[in-house]
Amino acid sequence: MRWESWSAFWHMGGYAVYVWGSVGVSFALLGLEAWWARRERERTLAWLRAEQAAHAHDSLGGQP
């Protein structure tokens, strides 16, 4: 490892705001995108289940 200490690593030679601002926002937004894609799938599946249930109810002719 080429850093003398962890504090030197986080300090980034005075560029901490710029380097960690780049890395942090990039990983955060990619993570957010993955979460969003997962939510989209869950919502799609829920919508299709609801549609299927409604359809099954119709084909029974409304009988209980």
């Binding site: 080429r2 850093w3 380097v19 780049s22 997962r38 799609t44 299927q52």
Partner: protein
């Protein structure tokens, strides 16, 4: 030699199954590549002679910028396939690519601004490279807005394909802008025709991060395409019989 039946994989049902098998190992691979790339870039690579530690932004900036261009070209490719072959999957792939491309274009501008402030003294300059990348970001936004505004999916696909194909002209402009114009942005760090202008370990860090972005893109696009397939094919029998829609049944 056996011929590969490409049309077989162009069927939404086959694609759905195949993408379902592939996305998770690819996502894990992307994570491993990103960890390796971050390790090489931040723990192994030396500081830059001119830019000190601040240069390490390139381990994010260069890969995301490459991907923002490659994804747009991929959308243009699927746009051609959509218009010429009327393949149903092509339009869905374009639509699944667009949000990731927009995100990478945004990150390119964001990390570029964070690099520009300490190195140039400005968050933003109206330089050919920066301006053409901003146009790329707007093209992604335009594509997403247009395709989501059109109700009929086939018409949305064709309109999106046109935007993707016409807008692709901008990609070589971004790439060659640093050669064609006298820009503030530095020239290419890695080129196909000459040896890279950087230390070996820096190059490895960057290539690992670039590979991570590639694999991430493939994984998330496969995942997102599956949702689009479900939405569009919801009245098909095979969708109704999917185990994820029939929790009681064993797959």
């Amino acid at each position: 030699m056996r011929r590969i039946a490409w049309t077989h994989y162009a069927a939404p049902q086959t694609f759905y199954g195949l993408a379902g098998v592939c996305w998770k190992p690819l996502a894990l691979l992307a994570l491993a590549l990103a960890l390796a790339g971050m390790w090489v870039g931040f723990m192994v690579a030396p500081a830059d002679a001119q830019q000190g530690e601040g240069y390490r932004i390139i381990f994010v900036h260069v890969p995301v910028s490459w991907m923002s261009m490659i994804i747009y070209l991929a959308m243009a490719f699927w746009g051609v396939v959509c218009l010429v072959f009327r393949a149903r999957m092509a339009g869905m792939l374009s639509q699944a690519l667009a949000p990731t491309g927009a995100l990478f274009a945004f990150l390119s501008l964001w990390t570029g601004a964070l690099w520009g402030k300490p190195m140039w003294g400005a968050w933003w300059v109206w330089d050919a490279r920066l301006t053409s990348e901003l146009i790329l970001f707007f093209l992604y936004i335009g594509f997403i807005a247009l395709t989501s505004a059109i109700q009929d999916p086939r018409r949305a696909d064709r309109a999106g394909a046109l935007v993707a194909i016409v807008g692709a002209v901008n990609v070589p402009i971004i790439y060659f802008s640093v050669k064609w114009w006298n820009t503030l942005h530095q020239g290419a760090s890695v080129s196909l025709t000459r040896s890279p202008s950087m230390a070996q370990t820096m190059l490895w860090g960057m290539l690992l991060m670039a590979l991570a972005c590639w694999v991430y893109t493939v994984a998330i696009v496969l995942y997102r395409t599956r949702s689009l397939i479900l939405q569009r094919e919801r009245h098909a029998d095979w969708v109704a019989q999917l185990p994820e829609l029939n929790p009681g049944l064993r797959p």
